[in-house]
């Protein structure tokens, strides 16, 4: 295979695309041969004479096409007068009329200007966009062999912040924010996801099937989605079949997952016990462990199983293999194209007790019924099986953290009995081993999406499209929990029944369906004189229905039987309900450009939603935008080093309709009370409502510049934006004596302002081609109006960013009693070695009045970048991503020593002592159960940790088998690669991963499911 000769494609994307295109081959002439035609042949090169493989050569009269081979050569049948079209992604197409000469050599000119981007209900040339749209295509996406589409977008796009919440298989809990957090109400800040034109979820797509993803960031691009677009829109398009022939592709990958970051705990039993006793002595509490208990470990023979130094983290968080297989067939003829894919993914969790399997299928077909009428369908299915322990997420990890080194999972006597704690007198949370092994929480989920469309070209410039779709999801959850006998390790005596949280089996079946129907009429015409007009009108309706049914039984005589019928029916439980919402919309778009020089666009959507009272349920969401392509001006014609210079601006309004399903309705809540012989159903009125309640509205302004010059050598996209969200749902302020909860009203507001910068550079030096790009996003959030400020650890206060930290400032460590005596009065009775706080109001007392705002709840900026290199058959890429200025408040398990027995990290070996007068590391203390006021009695900045990081998110080295070798083994293409995720991280944060979520209620705990480091090998074959 030859080196990719491409030069100057846009933003590095096409280097990757070209990998894909190498696979092409000329179809054999016999397939193509048509009588009365002669063979035309030639070579296609780029403007520097380098042959271009994979160029599509199409005879526009016969509609027959071929692609150039690896030497850029082609042979096609054509008769005189036929027009041959030579097209290649990133190059300007050329059309040549066949004359008398049978050899036609073509030189294609690079063009990043023809790149097409998917937008709402259509496509547009990227250069003609006036809104802010970030896009990414499949090669760039699937390069990182991970299993979750959302995670693949991380660090790739400006203005899009993605944070994987957890490394838990099938429950990555990925956090997506487009241009900041738009609201602080329950309406949420998640973007709308559109898959093949229909609302959906990123969790249900196999990344292998993704053709492209566009992110609509500003009002101009997103307002066509109206009342649901306030948080931005992610538009996903799945793959279609190739035009000619059949490609069969296989992608297999085996990966080794391990925890990216784990705390470094003291694991020596004697040291652990002595440290705890030390902390107790200092705090004036009686020793926890007796000298004889400590000595029994100190004097034990090494490796005596009765006296272990057990490392629970090592035992419970391991390296595990993860497998992935994808087989796809893509093919087509003149009229019909199809793409089919079957995927299998099998992930064992790095934490014991977790696993995930997923099966995916995709079938996309489109066919021309007549010249003007096209029918198509997209069918996809995802089936997931997931298991987690009956204590989930952080609640399981804290059990792992809290387990002590003095005992191992099973009693040392070999009886196979579970341990619970070391000695019966010391309370310990549960043994992670029995929590992971016995019972569990099992999920089986299914998603099926079927859509079908008809596209009819009424006139060459007028197309009518009709699409119907059904999205069906169901999920079955089985929760199994039963008593487990557990014993004290030292004495072998019974200690607990494992403390089940629910005794028995609980099944929950949920399902939802979303039928969608939309139709559009699209007009596009180029008038003489360079006037280009296009218009779109459409109608869309969606109706969502969700229900669940839950049943449980508590009394199981045979715990190994975990189906409901195996349990005793006495005391069985049952529950279920359903909810619905619907939305109906009319939308339109009008664009006009003059010679692709002056661009104007207007979008609008008129939405009606069931969530709002009928008098005001219809809302209008307009946007306007304009662009000026300076580079197309006559006066720029001589400045030929500038490829593209465009200024653009947009303004518009968007809505967020996730305000609850029935927020305005006066309903009576169902309650129960055993008034008669059994349980009676009753109703009560619980809340007041506001009939004028409506969506939260976001007004968005965007100004941007696109620039590329030097024939693609350098490129830049810059955006400034401002988003103001108004009418954020709030609780009205009413006296509690009304006895009803306050109505939800539109009240609060907030603002996001920011800039985004994308820089790209690509070049070729000898046989080495390389591309570098870098993206930078900065967003500033400010709460501008709230009904009642909330001053907590994460505050909601006017003039501050949402969630801004509000706490006492830590300013050192007390070194002596005289220093304490001279200092303002601190809470509790601090000793030398405890935290010293700043008396912000100078009243001589440290209390809640000394709290100040501290930044860090929102990052200062985020960034990412790619470096890709290609040399002969080798390619390599490095992708990094970072967050600056984010801080997390971290306490309890992993941070406060001995929280439920959690060992201190090894840092505490350097704890403050009179001989080691540190100003940063306090004296060893114990949080134990009741806390220690000088350390844990206040919320203060000692616990606020800088989580800024720069992470080599992915590194990949690939080798493509030479063409000759491929041919010998009858392959079109073969590639092997090695890939590593989360390999290196540069951060000040210790013991926990800086990439974590700060949004869950338990997120101040150090104990969370770890992010994973992934080393993987894969092979991609095409035949």
């Amino acid at each position: 295979m030859k080196l990719n000769q491409l030069k100057k494609p846009f933003l590095g994307i096409l280097v990757l695309v070209s990998l894909f295109c190498f696979n092409a081959r000329a179809l054999s002439e016999s397939e193509m041969y048509v009588a009365l035609q002669s063979d035309i042949s030639g070579t296609v090169t780029d403007d520097s004479g380098v042959p271009l493989p994979g160029v599509t050569v199409l005879n526009l009269q016969t509609n027959v096409g071929v692609v150039t081979d690896f030497d850029g050569k082609y042979v096609i049948s054509a008769s005189k007068g036929n027009v041959l079209q030579f097209s290649y992604v990133g190059m300007q197409s050329q059309e040549i009329t066949v004359g008398d000469i049978s050899s036609i050599n073509v030189e294609l000119q690079v063009s990043q200007l023809d790149e097409i981007v998917v937008i709402g209900y259509g496509k547009q040339k990227k250069i003609n966009l006036t809104g802010s749209v970030a896009n990414i295509d499949d090669e760039e996406l699937t390069k990182r062999p991970i299993n979750n589409v959302a995670n693949m977008l991380q660090g790739k796009l400006t203005g899009v912040r993605i944070n994987q919440g957890s490394g838990q298989p099938g429950k990555e809990n990925t956090y997506i924010r487009i241009r900041g957090t738009g609201t602080f109400s329950g309406a949420g800040s998640n973007p709308l996801v559109i898959i093949d034109g229909i609302a959906g979820s990123l969790d249900n797509i196999d990344p292998e099937n993704v053709e492209s993803i566009s992110v609509l960031k500003d009002a101009a691009s997103a307002s066509i989605y109206g009342a649901r677009a306030a948080n931005g829109v992610i538009v996903v398009t799945t793959k279609t079949g190739i035009k000619d022939g059949v490609d069969i592709s296989y992608h297999g990958n085996v990966a080794y997952h391990s925890a990216a970051v784990l705390p470094d705990f003291v694991n020596n039993s004697v040291e652990y016990m002595e440290m705890w006793n030390t902390a107790h002595e200092r705090q004036g509490i009686a020793n926890l462990f007796s000298q004889s208990q400590i000595d029994s470990y100190r004097n034990a023979a090494p490796n005596d199983p009765q006296y272990p130094n057990f490392n629970w983290l090592d035992h419970s968080i391991r390296t595990v293999p993860v497998y992935r297989h994808n087989l796809s067939v893509s093919g087509g003829s003149e009229k019909t194209r199809f793409y089919a894919n079957l995927g299998y993914y099998d992930q064992e969790g790095v934490v014991i007790g977790h696993n995930f399997k997923r099966y995916t299928g995709q079938l996309n077909i489109d066919t021309k019924i007549t010249d003007k009428l096209t029918f198509g369908t997209n069918i996809s299915m995802a089936i997931g099986d997931r298991k987690e322990p009956w204590l989930t997420d952080s609640d399981f990890l804290l059990v792992v953290y809290g387990a002590q080194p003095m005992y191992s999972p099973y009693l040392a006597d070999g009886s196979g009995r579970y341990s619970h704690n070391a000695w019966p007198e010391f309370w310990v949370n549960r043994n992670p081993e029995f929590v992971a092994n016995e019972g569990g929480n099992f999920y089986e989920s299914k998603n099926i999406r079927v859509n079908a469309f008809l596209k009819y070209d009424i006139l060459p410039e007028l197309t009518w499209e009709l699409k119907g779709s059904i999205d069906y999801t169901d999920s079955f959850n089985k929760f199994v929990n039963y008593p487990i006998e557990a014993y004290s390790f030292a004495t072998g005596e019974y200690y607990s029944d494992g403390w089940p949280v629910f005794n028995g089996v609980r099944n929950r079946f949920e399902k939802s369906k979303l039928p969608t129907f939309y139709t559009t009429l699209n007009y596009s015409k180029e008038f003489s004189g360079g006037h280009n007009v296009s218009a779109l009108v459409g109608y869309n309706q969606e109706e969502f229905h969700w229900r669940y049914l839950e049943g449980s039984r508590r009394d199981f005589n045979f715990p190994q039987l975990t189906e409901i019928n195996a349990g005793n029916s006495e005391g069985q439980g049952l529950g279920g309900t359903a909810t619905e919402w619907a939305i109906q919309s009319y939308f339109g778009r009008l664009t006009y450009n003059f010679k692709e020089r002056y661009l104007i666009e207007a979008n609008a959507r008129y939405d009606g939603t069931s969530r709002i009272f009928e008098d005001n349920r219809w809302g209008f969401f307009p946007s306007v935008s304009a662009g000026w392509r300076v580079s197309n001006e006559a006066f720029m014609q001589d400045v030929d080093w500038v490829d593209n210079l465009k200024l653009r601006a947009s303004w518009g309004e968007l809505g967020n309709q996730n305000i609850g399903n029935y927020p305005y309705q006066d309903v009576l809540s169902t309650v129960a009370y055993p008034l008669g012989a059994g349980l009676d159903q009753g109703v009560v009125q619980n809340r007041l409502t506001d009939k004028t309640l409506e969506w939260e509205k976001t007004t968005s302004t965007d100004i941007g510049v696109d620039l590329s010059f030097g024939g693609g050598l350098f490129s830049m996209v810059f955006d400034w934006y401002k988003k103001e969200t108004e009418g954020i749902l709030s609780q009205a302020e009413i006296p509690a004596s009304v006895g009803l909860s306050a109505p939800t009203i539109n009240f609060a507001s907030m603002e996001n302002k920011g800039i985004e910068l994308l820089l790209g550079h690509k070049n070729k030096v000898g046989e080495l081609s390389y591309a570098v790009d870098f993206n930078f996003s900065k967003n500033k959030n400010e709460v501008t109006k709230v009904s009642a400020p909330s001053f907590g650890r994460n505050s909601t206060v006017e003039g501050q960013p949402i969630g801004e930290y509000y706490m006492i400032e830590w300013d050192g460590i007390f070194q002596s009693q005289s220093e304490i005596d001279a200092a303002p009065t601190h809470p509790g009775s601090p000793q030398p070695g405890d935290l010293r706080f700043r008396d912000a109001n100078g009243d001589g007392v440290i209390n809640a009045d000394d709290r100040v705002f501290v930044d860090g709840a929102q990052p200062d900026f985020t960034y990412g970048g790619n470096i890709s290199l290609q040399w002969r058959n080798w390619d390599m890429s490095v992708f990094f991503q970072g967050v600056e200025g984010q801080k997390y408040y971290l306490t309890w398990w992993g941070f406060w020593p001995f929280t439920q027995g959690t060992a201190p990290t090894t840092d505490w070996r350097n704890a403050w002592t009179p001989e080691n007068p540190s100003q940063t590391m306090p004296a060893l203390w114990t949080f134990s159960t009741y806390g220690y006021t000088p350390m844990s009695g206040t919320e203060n900045t000692y616990n606020l940790k800088d989580a800024s990081y720069m992470r080599i998110k992915n590194l990949q080295i690939g080798y493509n088998l030479p063409k000759e070798v491929c041919e010998k083994i009858k392959l079109k293409d073969a590639r092997v690669y090695f890939s590593a995720d989360n390999l290196f991280t540069f951060t000040k944060m210790k013991h926990v991963d800086p990439e974590r979520l700060g949004t869950e209620w338990w997120s101040t705990r150090g104990s969370v499911y770890p992010q994973t480091k992934i080393l993987s090998m894969g092979v991609k074959l095409k035949l």
């Binding site: 028995g504 069985q572 309650v671 009753g682």
Partner: protein, 492 residues
């Protein structure tokens, strides 16, 4: 072809828009709209059930015991409902905990009562049933207002559901609140049947509550007369098993001692009493309470020859071990894990010790008793003693309570003052951890003296603090912020 396709497409669009009239009308599928409700007698019953369900608010049911942790009876290690702070005198408008919950949950209940009374007025239904329902709901409204009056003194009265604007009114005086309560209870007494209590409140419930309201106002004659009516009703008596009275197993036989309670029913309507009390050891009974139990000879431990400090729980009033767990809990020789206790004691009353160990899977559904016949007897004794003196009927009433557990009669010939002390002790013992002690100590005016000598864990004697303005709790701060007409209580 072209026309066919267009016709086909247009007809689909028309089809969709023609069926779209109601497309956007989506109503909750498991909650009834308030517009379509209140049409029939069965709706009235459903609404009545709703009113009763308000009694299940935590401070009006399962955590009622926490009120005893404001007194010399108990200590709450975990400071749940803020009771540890409150008992130590940290009472501020922003304290929250029980100070907010008692207020908010009372008004939630009152709101439901008011909505009920407003809607049932014009409902076409059986008049007898209607008047009985109205009586029940007025009783419940009186119960909530009584709690408000007892803990906060002056509060806002609403007789009908207020709008948000109408809600912002001045508080009424404590006396006006009492008048309102009596008026509701008089209506209830007039319309409720004289029968045994099974869950729906009955005439005896209302008589007993009205007696209690009078008793708490020092109106002895009325209290004695009303309790006398209950005693003569023939529909209530002491249950023979003091332990079982507070357990599901005992309550299954519907002891007619109970006159008013919050009911529960497993598996779908349960509370966490076993978990809070049996497992987490939330209320830690104080040594002061333990020492208050007499020996079986009817003498206090200071005087009784039967008392052996080395074996302090032997030969004591049987209610001691039926109320307080003094030793670790064993089942079949295995110790059952419970959270630690600061005082060395845990509460036994209401904890079913046959079902250990207690985990999250244990469902508690015993009824939480608010009024029972033993309380009525002791109220009668107290009122009669104050109004008339320690006559035989006073002795009989107290002795009836004592003899149920095998305790000897009070010595005869007690002076009025001695009788008063005996009755007060009897109330402390008989009703421990049922939420009466705090209000009793307040109305006797002894609370400051009693609390000042309690040995508070971690703080010692003097650790508890009851200031004169604590007789009324403050309005929660948010209430002052939202209702500008309210005047905060003196001292806050």
């Amino acid at each position: 072809m072209k026309n066919n396709i267009i016709t086909f497409g247009l007809s689909i669009i028309l089809m969709c828009s023609s069926c779209s009239d109601n497309f956007l009308d989506k109503n909750p599928l498991d909650e009834v709209s308030s517009q379509t409700f209140w049409k029939s007698e069965s709706d009235a019953y459903i609404a009545l059930v709703g009113v009763y369900s308000r009694l299940q608010a935590s401070v009006y049911s399962v955590t009622r015991y926490n009120l005893d942790c404001l007194t010399d009876n108990g200590y709450n290690t975990q400071n749940s409902d803020q009771v540890m702070n409150i008992s130590r005198g940290d009472i501020l408008p922003s304290t929250g905990g029980v100070i907010n919950a008692m207020y908010n949950d009372a008004y939630k209940g009152i709101s439901s009562c008011n909505v009920f009374l407003q809607n049932i007025a014009d409902l076409d239904m059986n008049q007898t049933t209607k008047s009985r329902y109205i009586g029940e709901v007025k009783f419940i409204r009186a119960w909530f207002y009584f709690n408000l009056q007892q803990f906060y003194g002056d509060v806002v009265i609403y007789g009908t559901p207020p709008t948000v604007e109408e809600s912002k009114i001045k508080q009424s005086t404590s006396q006006q609140v009492l008048d309102f309560i009596h008026s509701d209870l008089d209506d209830a007494i007039a319309s409720l049947p004289n029968e045994a209590y099974m869950g729906n409140v009955v005439k005896n419930s209302a008589l007993a509550l009205k007696a209690k309201v009078h008793l708490h106002s020092g109106e002895w004659t009325q209290a004695a007369a009303l309790t006398g009516q209950v005693m003569a009703s023939g529909n209530t008596s002491l249950y023979n098993d003091y332990t079982g009275l507070f357990l599901t197993s005992g309550q299954e036989s519907n002891p007619d001692e109970i006159l008013f309670s919050t009911k529960f029913l497993a598996p779908d309507n349960t509370h966490w009493y076993q978990i809070y009390v049996g497992w987490w050891s939330q209320p830690n009974p104080r040594q002061e309470l333990v020492d208050a139990y007499q020996s079986v000879d009817g003498l206090s431990i200071d005087l009784s020859p039967l008392y052996d400090p080395a074996d302090p729980y032997a030969d004591r009033d049987p209610r001691l071990l039926q109320t307080i767990q003094v030793e670790p809990w064993f089942i079949d020789g295995q110790e059952i894990q419970q959270e630690p206790t600061e005082t060395g004691y845990r509460v036994q009353k209401g904890v079913d010790k046959t079902i250990g160990p207690i985990g999250y899977d244990v469902l508690s559904d015993m009824d939480i008793i608010h009024l029972r016949y033993a309380d009525v007897l002791l109220m009668y004794a107290e009122a009669q003693n104050e109004a008339v003196g320690p006559d035989q009927s006073v002795h009989d009433a107290v002795n009836e309570v004592r003899s149920r557990v095998g305790m000897p009669d009070l010595p005869s010939g007690l002076s009025k003052d001695d009788m008063r002390e005996s009755i007060r002790l009897e109330r402390q013992i008989e009703l421990a951890f049922e939420g009466h002690r705090y209000l009793d100590l307040k109305r006797w005016g002894t609370i400051q003296d009693v609390l000042s000598v309690v040995d508070e864990p971690g703080l010692g004697v003097g650790g508890l603090n009851f200031k004169s303005h604590h007789y009324n709790w403050p309005f929660p701060q948010s209430e002052i912020d939202r209702n500008p007409e309210l005047d905060q209580k003196t001292g806050y």
